[in-house]
Symmetry: C2
Subunit: 638 residues, 2 copies
């Protein structure tokens, strides 16, 4: 069994403890210095955050808060969770300001923060919709009101500003609101939980930041309340949609609204990390196994169904109607990050990688101003990224993830550093048993699997460096200072080197990359007889734009027995590695008016040999709305 299968196993040891959890490099400095992600971050900072500001102004998010603050007149605009988009955008700005000052962004943030503070009521409540439109209905509709959801995003934005730039203005607002919520629910013993989970992980983080225990207790209170008949008694959504069908600790699967589900599992994992409650870990392990072995797209996307934006049944993974919301991909990354800390297995980092490079990145256009809400794996044409959405949860969510991407590269333990994602980067941190450490990582990843890590700062004490070997990779090798590593140990998918590290030490990791063909479980209807092209962490697709003249991606088959070729293409999509494959184009014209035909009809159609050109799925729909497919029918021998 190759490592490839890692997303399909359950490496969770049900008896472990979070005492040994890996730690995020929270008080450290991780800077992505080049390559694909640095480019995406630069666009995010230079273009997307400003685009977001304009959209929040145009769509009414600022207006609604001005109404709440008594600074404007008029009608409330947009859906009732408008504030959350503002907070997510603000969180992204916070992280970006931490990466370096920017007067314009700072001015935008100041305007937003002042407005938010002004809108807060004297007792600490804050929600522009309920303050403006239905003041008498505060907390009356926990199911769909999104007040606690918005509060969670406020807290996360506040944490970002506090952590990134030590600006605590928003934190003061958030704490007052959190205190008010705690008094209203937990301390008053009032039943309730967020109809849309989010605040759970925010509260745990607020606890981590402030040390105030009641925030952790409130998170737990909300988790404990679920599954006791709170939600889903009216049309159109049922308790499953709200993860309220059974109590959290009795859950067997991932189900219902995908973002709600994975924000909840993220919060539950946070709770486990802080409490060590074994029952929670067992639930999470079951849910992760269910998701990764039966409900996961190859792109890392999750949530197959349009109706209810929900997880489907087992093996229900349509390509054309894949819902795979960008926010669900982000939620999966957030969850797997927490699982990685707790579970210390490359399986989780593998899934973060798969999701980042594919199902998440597809959500954002190359120019930073277009955003998919839905990320299908097959387009028959006509699909492009809108600038914004009526329900605009995804764009600012993508912005905050891109802005905070450095958080996900590495972790530390008492005596070691673990590198999970590869990108040109500088990592500065301190180890309990290793003192200050600075690493410089150089690589052309994801286009090439060579990774060089240079120790720029170390005090000579021994510590372990763990480098993830991606599940897709076979034949990884490691050399330290030019020599083959003295049989590096492999542990849970990491190559481990223990050493008294010195300034100037160089580690070279080779992760052989070659294009490969992947197939799905035969129970998946939509992928039967088809293969997908992958290369390194990237899932590829065929777009009309790259095929031979007059050939639609819809009409081709790939010869799965012919070799694939990786080709550097600086002319395409800002510079990529494309994959060329041998295949055929079939003239399906005779079938235009014929949905069903005797067996053998299609095989009898004229076909001609063509070269297929595949590009990374994440970059599709950046050149108009031509057809696109990830899964390519495998040509049969004729």
């Amino acid at each position: 069994m190759t490592l490839f299968s890692r997303t399909g196993i359950v490496p969770v040891d049900a008896t472990h403890s979070p005492a040994a959890a890996w730690q995020p490099l929270t008080h450290s400095r991780v800077t992505i210095t080049g390559g694909l992600w640095a480019e995406r971050q630069a666009i995010n900072r230079a273009v997307s955050l400003r685009h977001g500001y304009r959209m929040l102004e145009q769509s009414g998010n600022f207006h609604d808060l001005r109404l709440a603050a008594g600074q404007a007149q008029g009608e409330f605009r947009g859906p009732l969770f408008m504030d959350s988009d503002m907070y997510k955008w603000l969180e992204a700005v916070g992280w970006e300001l931490g990466s370096g000052p920017d007067a314009e962004l700072q001015g935008m943030a100041d305007e937003a923060i002042r407005l938010i503070a002004a809108a807060q009521t004297p007792e600490g409540y804050l929600n522009s919709y309920y303050q403006v439109v239905e003041p008498e209905r505060r907390w009356a509709n926990l199911e769909m009101g999104h007040e606690l959801y918005c509060a969670g995003h406020l807290i996360q934005a506040a944490v970002a500003f506090a952590r990134a730039v030590e600006d605590t203005r928003l934190l003061d607002v958030a704490r007052r609101f959190a205190d008010y919520i705690d008094a209203t629910f937990r301390q008053a013993g009032r039943p309730g939980a967020p109809g849309h989970p989010e605040i759970e992980m925010a509260l745990v983080e607020l606890y981590r930041l402030t040390g105030t225990e009641r925030y952790l207790q409130l998170a737990r209170y909300f988790v404990d309340q679920r599954g006791h008949g709170l939600f889903g008694h009216g049309w159109p959504f049922n308790p499953t949609y709200f993860q309220d069908r059974v109590p959290v600790r009795e859950t067997q699967v991932v189900e219902g609204h995908a973002v709600r589900q994975l924000y909840l599992t993220s919060g539950v994992t946070d709770l486990y990390l802080e409490t060590g409650e074994q029952a929670l870990w067992e639930v999470l392990a079951r849910q992760w196994a269910d998701m990764t072995t039966r409900k996961l797209y190859l792109t890392g996307g999750v949530g197959a169904r349009y109706e209810g934006e929900a997880f489907g049944d087992v093996y229900e993974l349509p390509n054309d109607r894949a819902y795979t919301e960008t926010c669900a991909a982000i939620a999966s990354i957030l969850w797997n990050w927490r699982l990685l800390l707790a579970g210390r297995s490359a399986a989780y980092a593998d899934l973060i990688e798969r999701t980042l490079y594919n199902g998440f990145l597809s959500g954002v256009s190359l120019d930073g101003t277009g955003y998919f809400y839905i990320n299908p794996l097959l387009s028959r044409g006509g699909i492009t990224r809108p600038q914004w959405h009526g329900c605009a949860c995804c764009p600012p969510n993508a912005m905050r993830l891109l802005a905070s991407l450095g958080h996900y590269l590495a972790t530390r333990s008492a005596n070691g550093l673990q590198v999970h994602q590869y990108a040109p980067a500088r990592i500065e941190t301190a180890l309990e048993q290793g003192g200050r450490v600075t690493l410089r990582m150089e690589t052309d990843y994801p286009w090439d699997g060579a990774v060089q890590i240079t120790v720029e700062e170390a005090d000579g004490s021994p510590w372990t460096l763990a480098l993830r070997v991606p599940g897709w990779c076979e034949g990884a090798s490691l050399r330290v200072d030019g020599e083959a590593a003295l049989s590096p140990q492999s542990e849970e998918g990491y190559l481990i080197v223990e050493r008294a590290w010195q300034r100037g030490d160089v580690v070279r990791l080779d992760l052989p990359m070659a294009p490969r063909l992947t197939e799905a479980h035969p129970y998946v209807d939509a992928t039967r007889g088809s293969v997908a092209i992958e290369y390194g962490p990237l899932v590829y697709c065929l777009e009309d734009a790259d095929q031979a003249a007059g050939v639609s991606a819809l009409d081709v088959e790939i010869d799965p027995r012919a070799p694939l070729r990786a080709v550097r293409r600086d002319d395409l999509l800002g510079g990529i590695v494309a994959v060329e494959a041998a295949g055929y184009a079939t003239d399906t014209g005779p079938l235009a008016e014929r949905l069903y035909a005797p067996y053998g009809t299609t095989a009898g159609l004229a076909r001609r040999a063509v070269q297929l050109v595949a590009v990374p799925y994440a970059l599709w729909a950046n050149r108009g709305g031509g057809a696109m497919r990830v899964w390519i029918p495998a040509a049969q021998r004729r």
Copy 2:
């Protein structure tokens, strides 16, 4: 091009006129005397109609009308369209009483009719929900209120009782209501149309029955109103859902809620039949082409999507999440029947046949007390027919179609008789240029393709007999009185014999039947690499129950190069022809935890040769909730 493709072409001559339309045998007598449909009708009469009565009593439909009539106290029960279920059931009872008296059914009908009459308001309005729950909101919510929808079903029940047993009590109620609606909308120039079409075809039929022109005008009024911004401005449904996106005459496709769409096209076809308006016929032709070439399941089922119970995009035809509501299959039959009258092509009768024998019949259990709302083409297990539904539109709809099935067998023209569906039956009618005619049809259809038609009554004048050659059939032959027919003409899919028919003349039609394999258009993801078994008009499926010990239908492949064998199996499902095929069972155990794997993994799994046994799809889920599949992966040569 074989006739097989007939559902995939558009035989509509855009310049024809309804003056030559075939006529239903409305004032005739068609009795199905044996075989599959007679059995289904007998169960429908003996079991289902009484089951329906009990369910209508238990679910509150009688109760709600009693509330409206002031004969009971309490709360309204069920959804606001409860009356429509009562009317559909009553329509079924009406047709059945026309087939022969039954004291118990007559008593049930009398109770319902008296109650309905008592509930009607003095001005003619009738809707238990709005009378009891929201009397001040009459006609205020045309979008979702279903008042006109319920009125349509009332009219159809009334027509059934008037036609079948010359009982006009309900017709008096229906006419008063229709007059009140006409005065409220058309005569008052009040904008509006039914949010759920249905009343259009009912009004045209009421016009046909009574000759009262204003009913036809009202139907036209409602059709004309659509597409001008009436519906779909609020969450969760958009104008497309309601067929209100564009005016009817500008429509290019079938879209939105499938039952709404096809009830509307049925009404529009009725309107065309009465008015001859060419623009309507052109719209219908476009919509029919769109449906049959891009949005139709092999079973005749339509409406791929759960969300909005709607037509999907082109080629969006998932098997597991096929919605294919039983009511949508019925709606398609209703529409194609009207198209058949107007278009006089076997293409429409072919689709009626396909839908009747497969996507419709699957909706009803063999014992007559279980009903599918949703008819998937793949079950991974656990799906069985409930006794009734919270939204119980399908069960009584199936009852009324089964009770009126004789209507769909044949039509007449001035100088001829057309037989569209084959079943043991007796057809008594009169031809303008042929006098009284009685035919006796004998056949073991759908298990065998031999059909014998004996002329039992004829006056010796010449007329033409047209017999449909189903699109699936090749090599049909016709003999009259033991001799090969004198080169019978073939016209629009019918074999035509013109003759001075005499009592005792015998026509023998041979429709060779052999099991066959069918494939779908390669643009359909869910069927790629798979084939379906068909035999005559029947689509087959694999159920766990019939496979070798320990073999799941989910784990098999068929050898598409091996011969298929039709086998009479009197021991199965009340007596059927099963189809045996050679195939393989694969041990997918090693993939249980592995959703994706390198290309070739599945082909490397152990497999063993097995005999596959397929049964008619319509009869699935009558032996528990085992797995079922229509589309079977075709084994590749290893």
